[in-house]
């Protein structure tokens, strides 16, 4: 066998190292992926061997025309995600900046803010957040911002908006654990010499935030926005997820469920793509290797 050059050997070794992944790619990703696509376009004829019959776009049409609950649910989910994502990213950035200042107990705060990530999947979270009646946000609001009595005098629309906002806060804050950590890591990557130079040039805190902090962590902002979108879309407390499961396993309509999940997926991809391209030009990339 002819001896390979170093470059060629490197190529072979590269492939060898990722070979498990390549195998897994076919077995656990491509095959199911394509199957799922096929499934969404067909109808299962026999359950025993999962034989299928191609019926074209029928399932998709069903989602839009026949199913009454799908579209409104979809709309609600999209709206919720939109609002939640913005709130999560903004809040986590603020919290990360606060925690990053020179304060004691920093470790405690980091730990506290990351805690919901540990606890927060599935049933556990449902339990913990199902205590909305005396929700913590209401407690906080009661103590600090808006006394309950005062709320009685407000216009009911205002009250509903406000309480909706406050109810969301717990949920939003609980979902922002990972983002806070990422922002913290990003903030600590900004070299302090930049800030010192700015101080010498008599910049105020506000200016320093906009001109130094924000640009330097813009890659992290992009990362967090995309991560948040994906996270909220694959969250189990997401009604669409429930719906997909319900149709698929409870009502045994695998093919319809596949179609819905594909619609959902394309939408997620679309949103992520938009976000990425919109923000690409505004992200200041410091580490082009």
């Amino acid at each position: 066998m002819k001896k390979l050059t170093i470059t060629q050997r490197k190529k072979v070794k590269g492939y060898l190292f990722i070979s498990p992944w390549l195998v897994g790619l076919v077995l656990f990703f491509l095959l199911p992926f394509i199957q799922s696509l096929r499934l969404s376009f067909s109808k299962i004829t026999k359950y025993a061997g999962f034989h299928m019959k191609w019926i074209g776009l029928d399932n998709y049409a069903k989602a839009f025309l026949w199913d009454v609950t799908f579209l409104p649910m979809f709309g609600t989910v999209v709206k919720d995600t939109f609002v939640n994502t913005i709130m999560i990213v903004v809040f986590s950035l603020l919290i990360a900046i606060l925690v990053n200042k020179k304060i004691r107990f920093r470790g405690f705060f980091r730990g506290a803010f990351f805690l919901p990530v540990l606890l927060g999947t599935g049933y556990v979270m449902e339990q913990l957040l199902g205590i909305n009646a005396e929700g913590p946000a209401m407690e906080m609001a009661r103590g600090i911002a808006i006394p309950e009595e005062f709320m009685r005098y407000l216009d009911p629309v205002v009250v509903s908006v406000l309480s909706g906002f406050l109810n969301r806060i717990t949920y939003v804050l609980w979902k922002s654990g990972v983002q806070i950590i990422l922002f913290l890591a990003g903030l600590q990557g900004i070299s302090s010499s930049l800030y010192e130079a700015a101080r010498v040039d008599s910049a105020t805190e506000w200016e320093m935030f906009w001109k130094i902090t924000l640009p330097m962590i813009s890659p992290v902002i992009l990362l967090n926005v995309i991560y948040t979108i994906i996270d909220s879309f694959t969250d189990t407390s997401n009604p669409i997820v429930d719906y997909v499961l319900d149709i698929g396993f409870t009502k045994s309509q695998f093919e319809y469920s596949a179609a819905i999940s594909w619609l959902y997926f394309i939408f997620v991809l679309f949103v992520c793509g938009i976000v990425y391209f919109m923000m690409r030009n505004k992200v200041y990339d410091t580490s082009k290797k």
Binding site: K11, P20, P116, L118, T121, S202, T236, V241, S261, L269
Partner: protein
Amino acid sequence: MIGKVISPAAAIGRKGKKVVRRVASVRRWADLILRLAIYILLFDLAFVFLYPFILMVVNSLKSPKDLLDITVKIIPTSFYWKNYKIAFSSLNYAGAAKNSLVITALTTLGHILACSMIAYGFARFRFPGREFFFLIVLFSVIVPIQVLIFPYYMQFSKWGWLNTYLPLIVPTFFGFGLRGGLYIFIFRQFFMGLPNELEEAATIDGCGAFRTYWSIVLPISRASTLVVGVLSMVWHWNDCFEPGIYLTKQKLWPVPINIPNMYATLKALSSGQTDEFLMEGEVLFNEGIVFAGTFMVILPILVIYLILQRQFMEGIEHTGIVG
């Protein structure tokens, strides 16, 4: 900060030391107030974060009488451990915990071994299609599991893997499984940040590629291994989606899936005739038991997290995912 920054040197020139002292003391007050405000804000936020958790722990220790008593909020009148006993058995904790342990340990092992090796390939070797395949890795993280879950079910049932742990564990050894792509990403960023000198020295000394990876690079990668390990453990322990789909035999269930089951068990018990419980009403509306159960579900993870917390945080900063 209030006003512009006046360097002490500039102030001295004008009116001597008096101005310097006054400016300095005003700034000190402003600083103090600012810091106080920050502390208050952070504690409030931490409170909101921790409140459901505290509520859970506290409620799990309340006796039924306490639960109905509105005046008893944060401090139960006595520590009512019975909730835990009941929760323990209705969760089938002993058996389920063993299952959870097996699943979590094996999947985490699979992830650490496979994802680091795969990431090393992506980080250190140039081969055609490298960028393309890595994009697919990222893509695999974005795809929601629901898209794949039905084919998975069909596929695994064809292979006879249903009601075993195989569907959960085997994919992790190939770099897939729950958020496998994310771990590949983390490891790759880390490896790309390591200086080449170490590996070059190893090559000069005659190490093959795999030996370099195994004996030199891996031992240095404690930071990223820790991050991946903790994330994988936490997410796998809490995962009730995939196990819920593949496992129908109850004795195979990991711990979190048993929670909704608790309701069923409790209901059965309350309408049943066991005199293990004092009063019938005790079992019916006892959120305390549910909270106790939930707490027991997360307890092991909590312990591990508290022990590893600082290293975990530092690990994230060092893996170079950010910046």
